[in-house]
Symmetry: D3
Subunit: 293 residues, 6 copies
């Protein structure tokens, strides 16, 4: 093949080797339980496509992706319309990555994909705490008769890890029951983000942390490409600052979900997602990896 | 309430009374088994919204909707993400309408919704034949491991009514297996529409007919708002002519599916769908209804 | 009609009964005097359509729409292109609602519709004060030779209720004459919103208040769907905070105008409007209603 | 001013001089009586803007705009919202152009603008016949209580010149009353265009002709940018052929209306309009002009 | 890496091996000499992305991509803004592919990329004829002072292979000089496509053929995503039929250019391009390849 | 020509006379070296088109464009694809304007156009300092092998005027090398704008200043219409405040670049650009002009 030809794949700066990677990025193109606008299944490929418009170097952290060992593993192959089987596949992928001592970073897809990802992480790190950034509480008991739904995912997580291990930031929408449950059971920060996050981060011990970012925590002015936009959210600067704060925590897994390219005029939601992932990759401390030493 | 206020609902010209209606129009906002672009769940409301931009009178048939007794029954209430339960609900709704001696006209939603609709019609009319207009054969045995899918729906229908009762027009895409199955088992008109339709219609006896129109049978130039557009289809004039031909058949039920408003620049797909429904309503001969005589 | 079918109309959570309602929401689809981009006639239906994407419960006020008695009365039926006759019809509708002891909440449509609405309110409440949120002063004497125009509406209002009863917030655009008139005659807060509003609200007596929100007071980043966008406005958080402050006033009527769906990429302008209306409905104190006691 | 700077205005190839022109092109940015989607006021500037993407030479007629003496006179200055006064201004402009022995070519704007234009032409040419291309009959007696409306314009024209002088092509939508009136009174070609046009053209005497093209006569696949799109129309090739046929007639004035840029994805409607105007300009025979001889 | 993960690259069905391939597909993301709308540099990635929405099997030819040995080589790495250096790189890539006995199929990018591609092919096949499908003649001597431009490319080609070896179909736009040159020198089929193509194909000897398709030969209704759309073109059915005819010729290289995703509402232009490439791949007879025998 | 006709050109309020103007506005429609999304060539005409939606009077400065003598000189006529020749033409135009004692204000086009503009200004004002507002450092040595590129422009400027005369505000993206170069050589304010600007302005002497604003310094929520959007920027309010601060400096020339209309949903980027230019025109102190005294 002629040297002038190049065949590129994946998130900018991804290396070609799974084994030596500290981070494994992958897409989870599932969106079939959403109640409003579907289409987040195209989120991962949109984030990859725009990532080439960004620099590998972070001015905020003065570090470069070229110094990070990460691998873009592609997407999880999902049977469309089959929720249970999809969840099992997602969990299996995440489990292997955790077992290999790497940090999985998943790109959604709808928010329900966080459940199998958190299950996989909690299996390896039983003390796991979850940091949840979202416009919506996602704390329903059931939704339209279904227990597994993007609207119930954090209630399921609370059942799994204990509600006192769940930190919810930026929440500004939900039912009366969700408000009551959150206020009484989780760390529930309504319509607030940076201030409570700073406090929590400053007092954190070494409990392993899972970070789940629903991009709709950001105001639709900055992140219009999402399925259930909710006016009144934070700015792109604030979520970037939040990401920088988070990198000081012992993060063991992460997801960024609900990017919906079909509504993403000027692609700024995908770009913001790609930039948050870049900051996560250059900022999060890799785990010690037994097998490559 | 002040007489200057008006509260409108439904497809243009819908009467307010189910009981005396000859036709019952309803939406089936299901799209969760699609493999490419979801969003056809918003099809029914888009078709209703644009219908007010059309006239009630048909220049083609010189008849008016005001002389037709039809009722817009709203949408089937579906549990998002639960395919099996959704299919049961759709079938129940259609069964009741058929039992009441009325003609159901369903607006999709994805093509899988045709299966419960045809089941309901076939239960009442055991000799039922199905006229299928589509870019895709939809004749797969299974799709991504699932038997119930928009890509398998006509194979399921063939199993239900017998492949020799299935007439497929305008088909221009599918797998090698679908091509083989269709060629050998169904009335399979590849990349042709008006000519074979005319022949079939002219020789038809009084076997009851179900009409299923996937809007992607039309070229994406005329119907861009659909989930799996396939260049090379018929024009809007041709599908209108097809609809006029069809009204000469003893139609007992009908669906029009796969309208996807998110891709429907200038709303012309919804408008075409609304116009096809208007022509169906003014053209199809109502059934004899025992209970209102 | 089968119980699985539902036929919905109107703003989320609207009850079906005018008589017992404390609030009457209605649309005013008029946009024919605008000088730049028309299309706000489709504002009311867009606001209703997106309202189902919001929750009925407000996290900000910890109250729910389900506890509010309001009725969506549909749209005022207007003769397109006839300004004078349209204005009379709007006034008649609003007068009846006021006479019935209810609070009218109107969705525009262009800003000129505020004039007949305010006339109706001032007829019932002679002491009426008007709170006007807008990017534009709307204080022209005449516009292109016409006295009745979206650009003259607040000058007409000032003539009607007296300029010292007119409070204008967030204004950042107008002619030299409008600037001079506003500075000398009305309560004129240039490029400021929350700070002066707080002061005014805190010192308010029980004078009845009419609230008129032109959505373009918000920056086009947060509210792109409007006819004459003016960069440099407030955020969605700020207008939500303003709405919460306003609910402490004795509001007797309200409008929210100039939502233009054709420019509303990601529908966030309609969503913001719907959310502001929800906060108004759950927050404003209903009037005492003689006839249902 | 530096010679590298250029300041361009108007339709491609327009000369800078009114006096010596055989054709005067001008815009009529009026859209305030439309009942569905307004915005055609921006039509003229969109047609001008895209015209530079076309060639001045016509391959169809093997003639060039550079050999035609035409002047782009800009737009008629209209008082927004005032229909009567706007109509008077449009008529005055067209009258002067006709009086000067030139051919006016107007770009709409809504279809109602044809009425004052035809009045002006009929004043000069009492025998005037009108060739009307449209999806809609526009033959209503009144519309929403108004006699002056885009939906009544051709009925008014019929009253003015006599219905037997009105030729209507491509009509495919209207009320029952319009159908009846057209069938009995005008030359009414339902859903047909090229064939009847050819017959009429071939048998034409030297009666002066006014051509009015509503761009929605073309199918929305080819002309999506219009306010009331009606599926089932002609192709862009067919309307171009129609224009070429028309150039054989003694045309004394022309309009092309209802281009709506806000819905004109890929600008192909404006481009088609610009191309039709180019063909008209290079093909229509100029009038004898006393004053420049 | 977990087996549930898949990392896909390139046009659907591409094999992973250059050496054994009969066809090499590659992108040429160059668009910097265009005079109207740039952005076709994103054409190749858009065509690849939508290709997964198509089937590998062709109903038209009853053959499948799975039986074709082709390799997607990625894109030519180009120095943006440097025309001369870019052309050299494109030529080098194509030369190697030709030298290896394979058929290059290039995806543009702007039309100027055809020049180095044809140079490469003509170097190997001195008798080369070129079949050019386009709305524009592209026969200018120079354009804005430049000899190398998308508007001059076929004049350059004529100079290279001789104008009598150049066949131009569907041409409907150009200058008077281009019309004159084409009429007198090349096989110049104005506004015609299928009919002359059929005649030429039926009488063809075994002269090697290069096919260059500018997607704007198709009407913008069917192919809106292109930089200089020209209303009045062929349909998607017609260009598909043309492609099927072409496969009967001894094609040695091909390009498909000017797909501009930014204007490609509903992605139907990319889909049509992908479908044309699929038909080319399954239909064109591979060359004898010495080195793998 | 009839007095009801008006032919408008250029930015709102432009006078018709170059000679007496203090400011000369002109467009530079060049975009052929950009690496990501081209199309900013259409920026100048978009800014002009939307300018009529703004008022001539500035509420911020309480001054009006009607009191400013400025001339819109149209666009520089550029040979597309020829970078070197284009740069020479731009420089020639700017040189003449400077020589005439006027202040040039250029609308881009891509950022590379600043280089010839600054060359022209530095030739007249050898002490020239440059204030650069941008998301990107634009300090590369070379880019894809080219020295002349939008990514190298400020490095070239630093070479021209000396890096210590270069002030860079709001920069938040670049390579490691750019970060190092900027930190060590220029006045380099990373991710900061108003605060450092205020300090610099307050301490400024009478050194002549060139202002270069890349619109992407603003967050894509407020300015989506640009080629390389970078989330995390300033608001429209902040850039307006910056412009007001800048007017206190002795500005001798200015540019505003990288407005890309194709991505400018709701046209708010063009509107913001037009508003910034209005504030510049009403606020900047004109130079003493020998020749008109």
């Amino acid at each position: 093949m002629h040297p002038f030809l190049y065949r590129k794949f994946g998130f900018m700066g991804s290396q070609e080797d799974y084994r030596s990677a500290d981070f494994v990025l992958f897409g989870v193109p599932m969106d079939f339980t959403v109640s409003f606008q579907p289409g987040s299944r195209f989120g991962p490929q949109a984030i990859r496509a725009v990532s080439e418009g960004l620099e590998e170097y972070s001015f905020y952290q003065q570090r470069s992706l070229t110094d990070v060992r990460f691998f873009d593993g592609g997407d999880v192959d999902l049977p469309f319309g089959n929720t249970v089987s999809s969840m099992k596949r997602i969990e299996a992928v995440a489990k292997e990555i955790c077992a290999d001592g790497k940090i999985p970073i998943a790109m959604g897809g709808e928010h329900l994909v966080s459940l199998p990802l958190i299950k996989a992480a909690a299996a390896k790190y039983p003390e796991l705490a979850v940091f949840h950034f979202d416009a919506h509480a996602d704390l329903r008991d059931e939704y339209l008769g279904e227990e597994l739904s993007h609207a119930t995912v954090m209630r399921q997580v609370a059942g799994l890890i204990g509600p006192n291990k769940l930190y919810q930031f930026g929440i500004r929408s939900g039912t009366e029951e969700e408000y009551a449950y959150g206020s009484q059971n989780t760390h529930f920060f309504v319509d607030e983000l940076l201030k409570p996050l700073q406090q929590v981060v400053e007092n954190w011990d070494d409990t392993p942390v899972y970070v789940s970012i629903d991009i709709d925590v950001v105001d639709p002015a900055f992140a219009p490409g999402t399925g259930t936009p909710e006016p009144g959210g934070c700015t792109s600067k604030e979520i970037l600052q939040a990401m920088l704060m988070l990198t000081r925590l012992p993060i063991v897994a992460m997801d960024l979900v609900e990017v919906l390219p079909a509504q993403d005029s000027s692609q700024r939601t995908s770009l913001l997602a790609a930039k948050l992932i870049r900051e996560a990759l250059v900022g999060i401390t890799p785990l010690k990896k037994a097998f490559d030493k």
